[in-house]
Each structure stands twice: as structure tokens, then as C-alpha cells.
């Protein structure tokens, strides 16, 4: 199929991009790595977009540690995230996530901001952001704002970003001493979106569990977290199973996904304790 774009403009700066979006009468569409958007356009699932290409805005790319905060620019590519030493030290969950995302060619172009803004319920980064308690930073015509991860992801492919806003970066607390971050997932083939995935974080204050591909958006499994804080893995699995209502599709049924979430939680807990599953 041939894509049918309404137009294309390359933004020189965030301000320029915001102006382009503002002038597009609602037809504007940010183009970052293009690894989800172009595929959708080629299937004519998205027609008539006025593409605002932000991929050359260098200020939106890069990784920085600011005190006890890790900041990752929205345009940082998956491959860069996977290879970055600071991320590996301070948010190893993201490093682990990258090896599950698509294939090398896609990781070389796809951006973390694109993945978060795209909000695919089966994607790794949104769930990681939720588990890490990250903040999304957006800039719009009326200035900048920070959005907590659990307020950012709303529905399938839907976030609380408004049409005239651009996601500029994501920040998260750097991992504390002894923090454990684990990602477990099952996909049909390597690089496929997860049938179910699970992030488990152990901090001094307690556990955090985010599950993906089990609903319209990544889910923070608070009851399972509480059970795990009590040290009761069986209860955590039971709670998790009640906390999710996974969809059925051609790859797997809801019941299978529910079962799998429990298996992944057990495996993650074993890894957390340094045991083999």
C-alpha cells in the first residue's frame, strides 16, 4: 500500500516543531523514529497527517544524570538506550528492555519518546516507565509540564499528551543501593511484541510490579506488590491474576495471558532472589 501523507516539514527546534503543530489545524503528527508511525501510514491506518519531523532536533537526544535523577531525551534511540553505561548503572530495567524490543534495524531508528508516546499496550518502555515511577516531560504552546507515568498512559495508543504537545524527555530516580530491576517476557518469536511481560523492581520501601500486554495500557499491580512485600509469592500471583483482565487475540487467549503473568512473576521473584526458576 502507498502511504498518503498530508505534508512533511522538518523541525529545527522544539519551538519550531510546536509552531508547526500549532499551525496544522489538528492534522499535525510528530514523526520521530517512524518505526510505528510509518508502518501505520503504509497500512493506510493513518491518512492525511501533516508530518512534523523532530528527528533532527539534537537537544532532544541524550542521557544525563542530574543528582539522583536520570534524564533520557525523547529522541534517544532504543539502541543508544541499550548501550548507554549510565542507564545500565542507574536504570538497568531499560537496558534489559531493549533486548526484547524488535530487531536491530528497528532499534537503530526507534526512539524512547516515540515508544512512550505511541503507548502500545504490549510495548516494553511504557511498562518500564510505570515500574520505575518515571516522569514524562512535555512541552506545549503554554510551556512545559511533567506527567507521572501512571497518569500518562490512558488507553490503547492513547496518552495524556495533548495534540499540540511534544514529549521532550523522561526522568526517573536513579536506582538505589541494592535495588533489583528485572524484566521477564514471553514473545512468540524474538523481537515480537510480548504475549505478556512483567517488570519487577525491589526497593527498600517495597516492590513494584508493572505488567504489559494484559490490557489497554501497562498496569501497576499494586495488590501483588503488597503481597510480595509480605513475602507471600503465592498470594502475589493470586492477586496479580485478579488485577488484570487481559484481552484475547489471534496469538493468545485471555486465560493464557493470565496464566503467563503468574509464571512470569514467579520467575522474576526467583531471579530477584538469585535462584534459578
Amino acid at each position: 500500500m502507498k502511504a498518503s501523507a498530508g505534508g512533511y516539514a522538518r523541525a529545527e527546534s522544539v519551538r519550531h516543531a510546536l509552531d508547526l503543530l500549532a499551525g496544522s489545524e489538528g492534522q499535525g503528527r510528530v514523526l520521530a523514529g517512524g518505526q510505528s508511525l510509518v508502518a501505520a501510514m503504509n497500512m493506510r491506518l493513518s491518512v492525511g497527517d501533516l508530518l512534523v519531523d523532530i528527528s533532527k532536533i539534537s537537544e532532544l537526544s541524550g542521557v544525563a544524570v542530574e543528582g539522583d535523577i536520570l534524564r533520557i531525551g525523547a529522541l534517544t534511540r532504543h539502541a543508544q538506550v541499550g548501550a548507554d553505561a549510565q542507564i545500565k548503572t542507574h536504570a538497568p530495567l531499560l537496558t534489559a528492555a531493549v533486548s526484547h524490543i524488535a530487531h536491530a534495524a528497528i532499534r537503530n531508528r526507534g526512539t524512547i519518546g516515540g515508544a512512550l508516546a505511541h503507548a502500545d499496550p504490549a510495548a516494553e518502555f511504557p511498562a518500564c516507565a510505570l515500574a520505575l515511577g518515571a516522569t514524562m516531560h512535555a512541552e506545549g504552546p503554554s510551556g512545559t509540564r511533567g506527567i507521572a507515568a501512571d497518569e500518562f498512559f490512558e488507553d490503547v495508543f492513547t496518552t495524556s499528551l495533548s495534540e499540540d504537545e511534544i514529549l521532550t524527555s523522561i526522568t526517573m530516580p536513579i536506582a538505589e543501593q541494592g535495588e533489583v530491576q528485572i524484566l521477564e517476557e514471553v514473545a512468540r518469536r524474538s523481537g515480537d511484541y510480548a504475549l505478556v511481560g512483567l517488570c519487577l523492581i525491589k526497593r527498600a520501601v517495597g516492590h513494584r510490579i508493572a505488567v504489559f500486554s494484559v490490557g489497554p495500557r501497562p498496569i501497576l499491580a499494586t495488590n501483588a506488590m503488597a503481597a510480595l512485600d509480605q513475602g507471600d509469592v503465592d498470594a502475589a500471583v493470586e492477586a496479580l491474576s485478579n488485577e488484570i483482565d487481559p484481552p484475547s487475540d489471534t496469538q493468545a487467549s485471555s486465560a493464557y495471558r493470565r496464566h503467563l503473568a503468574g509464571v512470569l512473576l514467579r520467575r522474576a521473584v526467583c531471579r530477584m532472589k538469585g535462584e534459578t526458576a
Binding site: K2, R44, R189, T250, S253, A255, Y256, H259, V263
Partner: protein, 793 residues
């Protein structure tokens, strides 16, 4: 003089060696020429508005908005094309009772599957044509859709084509011996319900055609990604009312076919019809969604089968009830009854047993039409047979290798006729099994499996013996009335510079046909393969032939090439003898030189002979024949098909918590007769295995109950990818066919035939201690966990 194939040190010993592929460099450098690379002056593009529903009456068609799109040149409806193109009916006389309604290039009154072409939009660019096609408004009055195969014949199921009376396209029952008696008295009877999923071929290059009609010459030229150019020549001529001699089909580089490109597709015929009406070149290149919804599908079978064995594991009887849904039309001209027919022909194939009953029931439904795809029917028949044999072995506590050894035809039993009435000239089941067992180190593998189990890992070994039908005679299609050639020809000529050109009726789809031809001709004449230029895929240029299907390229096309090459060698030597005043029988051609047969002493290079023949013919004796062009044809006569055989093994691990299967290793020993090019054959086997593994673990086209296609993209239809593929070890036993000097049988489909059964048996071997068993492909993680009873709905 016959070629001493068993002596690898013979002169010009290219047959049996891995020689470089003449077209590889070109393809790797991106210098191939596929249909989409061809741009003709005044060329237009066609895109299709396709039915979004599975079954509907076509009401008013509103083209106003579509016509207004910039670049649109003309729009055709079914009624428009029906005036210039006659419909086809895909039946064959030897498939008794097969029925199918007339099919048009564009649906006329009714649309019968999601994706059926309804309106054709012709424009200056594909983008404009697509844009306009999306604005075509068709009033679809929905009719009830038939989607379930097993209830298609029920009384309360609507009949898709009322004029045919019912939804039964074809049924064949074959019975041999006394099956019921055998089951009654058997020591053990095991039955199972098998399911193979709907697949499609997923060629890298989608279906592509560019048709040019030249009214001044009354000639149609179709640049077509096809396996069978001569067959298509006939089809275009017949349905577009052009003399056959005035249709030229050119098949350049093709990016994979797997059987997908050997059929007649309505949108491709529509493209040709439109080109003829408009007098302008028209191009159609399917996109990926069109590929999924309109390339033929295959393998959608449901089977109830049972096996009876005695105490010693001898097979007493096999009974198979096979059902398949083929979509709303049988596909032209090969028909959609062949796959079910093959299941009947092939079940029980490797085994010497007496009582056999098999029935196939082929029904219409409102889904994409199915037809022949790589290894037609084989993966189904092998899964049934090998699944049953393994289950029987388990039921009587016998090793799966042992039960096979007790039942396979003895290697010295041939010729033999199977209970399915297939004639086997010579197979090597036992030699192949022996080689496989040695290769996989069966005992060590069993020990590893036991060790793994102690650590809570469930590993399984699966064995699958198989037969494969290759080198078909006219018994496959010709006797049924189809103008599909089982014969193939090759013309070989020597040019003045001593180089050789070979023109062959078999075609190159990317599988290496041209490499095979170049080495056969090189050895046959006595030149280097690099000095042989191969030309295929042009009906105006090559000898008439069948093309690529049913693993016939090397066996049929290769033999024609060998005989033509040998004939050219004789002609050359006749001239050489006159020039050198020697006896032709005492000369030979080696590496492009005329030499003394005995001493090997060089007498004259071929280019000198070429110079004399072409430019100084006056110096040769007047009555000396100087025919440096020779053509030979080959057709098999003694057997309807040249069967090959082999055996595969799979070793894998099942994660019993997630249901995920990890393939650890795969082996195949197969016997395709003479191996002409070991690397090409091995890669054919590997590629075939990968396609088989796809069927076993990943590939499945999904429809909902209304006949909507649910997974029309590469993201949702999972093909096997490199990361999941195991190491594969391939070995050969060679039992050349005596029908030809070359002795080659086909090798292109064996991998696909056996791999799914090997994987199924390995999974069941792993699950057996847990009391679980799977028989519905693909073996998804979910299906495995369900078999283990681990999922609560």
C-alpha cells in the same frame, strides 16, 4: 557413451559438485530484474477495490468520487471485463465429481471472499490508483458466509453456489483390503484428531505482472512472476481470445514462489484484459495485505484418523477421514482438489501394510481460495501417518525407531505398489533411517533427554519418515485435460566463441535452476559452467515446457538439458573429426578443448572450431553436418511420479510453564536420487524444513466466524525467523531413478514434507510423561499448555 557418475575424477565432472550460481552475483548486487523493475513507455498501474465482506450480492457501484482522483485514467467493473474475458472453471476430468462455478477476473454479481477483486482502477501511479480504489463505493448486500469446514455440508448451512446444489466440491474414497476386519481383530487401535492450519506462501517478491498489448502486431507480452510461463500463455490466449502464438510470457527474476505463483489469479487476468482493452502497458504488483488476502492459501485440513497394529508393532490398517475447505472457487487450472487427493495418495507412504482406507472431503467456504503450496498435501499426510505411528508405538511400549524399521518397505522390495496404489521405483527407507540414527547418535540423544528430565526439563525426540512425489508425468494434470506440460525441453547451442547457450523450459524462481542447468550442460558438452549461459522463462524463446512445480526442474528439465548437451557434443565432435581427420569416437571435449579421448592431449579449442564452422564453412566437406544447435525433450514414461524418500528428526525442549517450544536441532536424511549440486540440494532441504517448522510452530491464517481475515500482515502472521531456527544437519542417500540418464529426482519439497511431523512427534515425546498430547498445528504455547491442562478459562 554413458557418464561414469560414480567417478568423481572423470573429466568435466560438474554433475555432483557445488558450482557457483551464475545469477547469484547479479542478485546480490541488486542488479536482478523483477517485474516491478520494468518500466515501459505509457505504462499505467492498476489497483483493485476488493470485497470487504466474505459473501455479498453486489449492488450499485458508485465510481464518481474515484473517477475524480487526479491521475485516474479508467475504471473497470466485473461487467466491463466480462465482455472481453471469458470465465474459467477449474475442474479436471480425472478428479471425478469435482465441481466449481465459473470465475471471472472481477466479481460480477456476488463477492465470495474478503479480498476478491470487484473493481479495477487504472491510473498513472499506483498511489493514485489506490487512492481512487479506496473511494469506490460498492453497495454490498451481505449474504450468510460459510466459514466452518466441518459443517459446510450440513443441511442448515447455506449453499454458496446454489446452482451447484451443495457445498461439496470433491470427494474421493479409496479403499484397499479389508479395513474394518483389520481394526476389529487388531491388537491395538489408536486414533487421533489432527489439524493443520491455513497457511500461505509469503513470497519475498509479491505477485507481479506487467502486460503490454501491441494492437499493431496483435501480440500480447506479459512480464510475469510465474512458475509456468507456457501454462499462462495458454490461459491468456484462451480467455482473452488471442491466438496462443500471439501471447508471449516473459518470466525474469522471481523472488520466490513456493507454489503461490503457479496459479491463475483473477487480478492478474484482469490486468491482462485491461491492457488489451486500453492498448497500454498495465502493471499490477500485489502489496502485502493483498498477498495475505488473495495469494492462494493451503493446508486447512481437519483429519480423524486411526491405525491398527499387532503385538509386534506391524501396521495392520490405517483409516483416514480428511476434510478441507478450499474457499469459494477451485483454483484454475490445477484445481483445489489436488491437496486432498494427495493426502489420500500419500498417507501410510513409507510402510508395507495391506488395509487402507482414506477419504477426502473438499468443501466450499467463503475464505480465500486454497491451492497447491510447496509439498502439496505432504506435510498433512506425513503428520497423520507419523503421528499415528508414534502414538501406536507408545501404546504398545515400542521405540519409535523400531516400529518404523518393522514396517518400512525393505530397501530391496522395489518396484512395489502401495495400498494407496502409488508405484515406487526404488526407495531407501532403511538406509536413510540407519544413516539418520547414526547421525543423531540416537542413544546419546536419549541419554541427554533422560538427564534433562532429571533437571525438570522436558525434551523430546521426534522422527518422521516420508515419501515425496516428484517428476510428475501427465498423470498429474494432463490426463485431466489441463494444458500443462509434463514434458520439458532444452536447446543447447555453441556460438562462434566456443561458449554455450542453453534455453530451457523450466524456470528460475530463486531456487537455483539455472545453476543446475549450467553444470549439467557444462558436463554434457565439456565446457566450464561459466561458459554456459542459461536462458529460461520466455515462451517465445525457450522450448515448450512445464516450468517449476512438483519438484520437476532438475529431474525433467535437467535430463532434457543433459540429452541436448550430449547431442551438441556429438555434433561438435563430428565436425572436429573432419577437421582433425580423426575418428569422432576417439575424441572428447574437456574444458572447452577438443582432446584425444585416450591421452587427453589437446587438439583444438572450441573457438577454433566455431571460427571455421561459422566463418569458413567453405573449408569443410560439403556434406558434413554442422548443426551446432541441438534440442531434446524429456518426459517420464515408466512411472506416473518419481517418488523420493527420507527421514527427519527433531530435538526440542518444551517449557511446560509457558508452553514455549525451543527447537534444539533438526536433521534430515533424504534420497532425491542423483544429487546434481550438493549445496543447492542442502539449501533446498533447509529452506523446506524452515517452511515446515513454520507450519508446525507459527503459521496460521485466522478468520472470524463471518469470514473476516484477522491477520493480514507480517506482524500477525508469524513466519519462522532465523533466531528461532535450529541448526540443521542434512545428509543424503542416492537411489537414482532409472528413467533418466541423469537419475535425478526432486528435492525442493522434502524438507517441508517431513518437518512438521518430526516436531509434533518430538513435542509429544516430551509431553508423554505428563500424559499430554498435541495434534493441532501450529503448536502454539497456548495449545501446549491447554494439552497440559494448565489453563483455566
Amino acid at each position: 557413451m554413458t557418464i561414469p557418475f560414480n567417478n568423481p575424477d572423470r573429466p568435466n565432472s560438474y554433475i555432483g559438485r557445488t558450482v557457483p550460481r551464475p545469477n547469484a552475483t547479479k542478485l546480490v548486487q541488486g542488479r536482478g530484474r523483477y517485474v516491478d523493475d520494468i518500466v515501459l513507455p505509457r505504462m499505467l498501474h492498476v489497483a483493485f477495490s476488493r470485497s470487504p465482506v466474505a459473501h455479498a450480492k453486489i449492488g450499485a457501484i458508485d465510481l464518481d468520487e474515484a473517477k475524480a482522483v487526479k491521475g485516474v485514467v479508467r475504471i473497470f467493473t466485473g461487467a466491463d471485463l466480462a465482455e472481453v474475458c471469458t470465465p474459467w472453471v477449474a475442474v479436471l476430468a480425472h478428479l471425478k465429481g469435482l465441481k466449481s462455478p465459473p470465475e471471472h477476473p472481477l466479481a460480477v454479481d456476488r463477492a465470495c471472499w474478503v479480498g476478491e477483486p470487484v473493481v479495477a482502477v487504472v491510473a498513472n501511479t499506483r498511489a493514485a490508483a489506490e487512492e481512487a480504489a479506496s473511494l469506490v463505493v460498492v453497495d454490498y448486500e451481505e449474504l450468510p458466509a460459510v466459514t466452518d469446514t466441518m459443517t459446510a455440508l450440513d443441511k442448515d448451512t447455506p449453499v454458496i453456489h446454489p446452482e451447484l446444489g451443495d457445498n461439496l466440491a470433491f470427494r474421493r474414497l479409496h479403499e484397499e483390503g479389508d479395513v474394518d476386519a483389520a481394526f476389529k481383530t487388531a491388537h491395538k487401535v489408536v486414533s487421533a484428531h489432527f489439524r493443520t492450519a491455513r497457511h500461505t506462501g509469503v513470497t519475498l517478491e509479491p505477485r507481479s505482472i506487467l502486460v503490454d498489448w501491441n494492437p499493431a502486431e496483435g501480440q500480447m507480452t506479459a512480464y510475469h512472476a510465474t512458475q509456468a510461463p507456457h501454462m499462462m500463455q495458454t490461459v491468456f490466449a484462451k480467455h482473452l481470445d488471442i491466438p496462443e502464438s500471439r501471447v508471449r510470457v516473459i518470466c525474469g527474476d522471481v523472488g520466490g514462489s513456493y507454489g503461490i505463483k503457479v496459479h491463475v489469479y483473477p487480478d492478474e487476468v484482469a490486468t491482462a484484459a485491461i491492457a488489451k482493452v486500453m492498448g497500454r502497458p498495465v502493471k499490477f504488483i500485489a502489496d502485502r495485505l493483498e498477498s495475505f488476502s488473495t495469494d492462494i492459501h493451503a493446508r486447512d485440513h481437519e483429519i480423524e484418523a486411526k491405525i491398527a497394529v499387532d503385538v509386534d508393532g506391524k501396521i495392520l490398517a490405517i483409516d483416514v477421514d480428511d476434510w478441507t475447505g478450499i474457499g469459494p472457487y477451485s483454483v484454475y487450472p490445477r484445481t483445489s482438489a489436488i491437496e486432498g487427493n494427495q493426502v489420500v495418495n500419500l498417507c501410510g507412504g513409507p510402510y508395507d501394510f495391506a488395509n487402507y482406507r482414506a477419504q477426502t472431503t473438499v468443501v466450499f467456504q467463503n475464505k480465500t481460495p486454497t491451492c497447491q503450496y510447496r509439498a502439496v498435501g505432504h506435510p498433512i499426510a506425513v503428520a497423520i501417518t507419523e503421528g499415528l505411528v508414534d502414538m501406536a508405538a507408545a501404546a504398545i511400549g515400542m521405540d519409535p525407531v523400531e516400529i518404523r524399521r518393522r514396517n518400512m518397505y525393505a530397501d530391496d522390495a522395489y518396484p512395489v505398489t502401495s495400498p494407496a496404489k502409488m508405484k515406487f521405483e526404488g526407495l531407501s527407507h532403511h538406509a536413510s533411517m540407519d544413516k539418520l540414527i547414526e547421525m543423531i547418535d540416537y542413544d546419546a540423544l536419549r541419554a541427554d533427554q533422560a538427564e534433562a528430565r532429571k533437571q525438570g526439563k522436558y525434551r523430546g525426540i521426534g522422527i518422521a519418515s516420508f515419501i515425496e512425489l516428484t517428476n510428475p508425468s501427465p498423470f498429474m494434470y494432463g490426463i485431466g485435460g489441463a494444458r500443462i506440460s509434463a514434458q520439458d525441453g532444452c536447446t543447447v547451442r555453441m556460438d562462434p566463441d566456443g561458449s554455450v547457450v542453453a534455453l530451457s523450459g523450466v524456470t528460475e524462481q530463486g531456487q537455483g535452476t539455472e545453476a543446475m542447468l549450467s553444470q549439467v550442460v557444462a558436463e554434457g558438452v565439456g565446457v566450464k559452467p561459466s561458459n554456459v549461459r542459461v536462458i529460461t522463462g520466455d515462451t517465445q524463446v525457450t522450448p515448450y515446457g512445464g516450468g517449476t512445480w512438483a519438484s520437476r526442474g532438475a529431474g525433467i528439465g535437467g535430463e532434457a538439458a543433459l540429452q541436448a548437451a550430449r547431442a551438441l557434443r556429438d555434433s561438435i565432435l563430428e565436425v572436429a573429426a573432419a577437421m582433425l581427420q580423426a575418428e569422432a569416437g576417439k575424441l572428447d571435449i574437456r574444458d572447452g578443448q577438443i582432446v584425444d579421448l585416450e591421452s587427453g592431449e589437446e587438439r583444438m579449442p572450441l573457438e577454433e572450431l566455431g571460427r571455421i564452422v561459422y566463418f569458413r564453412g567453405d573449408t569443410l566437406p560439403k556434406d558434413l553436418p554442422r548443426e551446432l544447435v541441438q534440442t531434446r525433450h524429456f518426459i517420464t514414461m515408466d512411472y506416473p511420479f518419481a517418488f523420493t524418500n527420507g527421514v527427519q528428526a527433531s530435538y526440542l525442549e518444551v517449557d511446560t510453564d509457558t508452553g514455549v517450544v525451543t527447537l534444539l536441532k533438526h536433521w534430515c536424511v533424504e534420497d532425491c536420487g542423483r544429487v546434481i549440486n550438493p549445496q543447492l540440494v542442502d539449501e533446498q532441504i533447509r529452506g523446506g524444513i524452515v517452511q515446515g517448522l513454520g507450519g508446525a510452530l507459527y503459521e496460521e491464517i485466522h478468520y472470524d466466524e463471518d469470514g473476516q481475515l484477522l491477520n493480514g500482515s507480517m506482524a500477525d502472521y508469524l513466519v519462522p525467523m532465523a533466531a528461532e531456527m535450529p541448526d540443521m544437519v542434512v545428509a543424503h542417500v542416492e537411489t537414482p531413478t532409472k528413467e533418466s540418464e541423469l537419475g535425478a529426482k526432486g528435492a525442493g519439497e522434502a524438507g517441508t514434507a517431513g518437518a512438521p511431523a518430526a516436531v509434533m512427534n518430538a513435542i509429544n515425546d516430551a509431553l508423554r510423561p505428563l500424559g499430554a498430547q498435541v495434534a493441532a498445528m501450529p503448536f502454539t504455547p497456548e495449545r501446549i499448555l491447554r494439552a497440559l491442562g494448565k489453563i483455566n478459562d
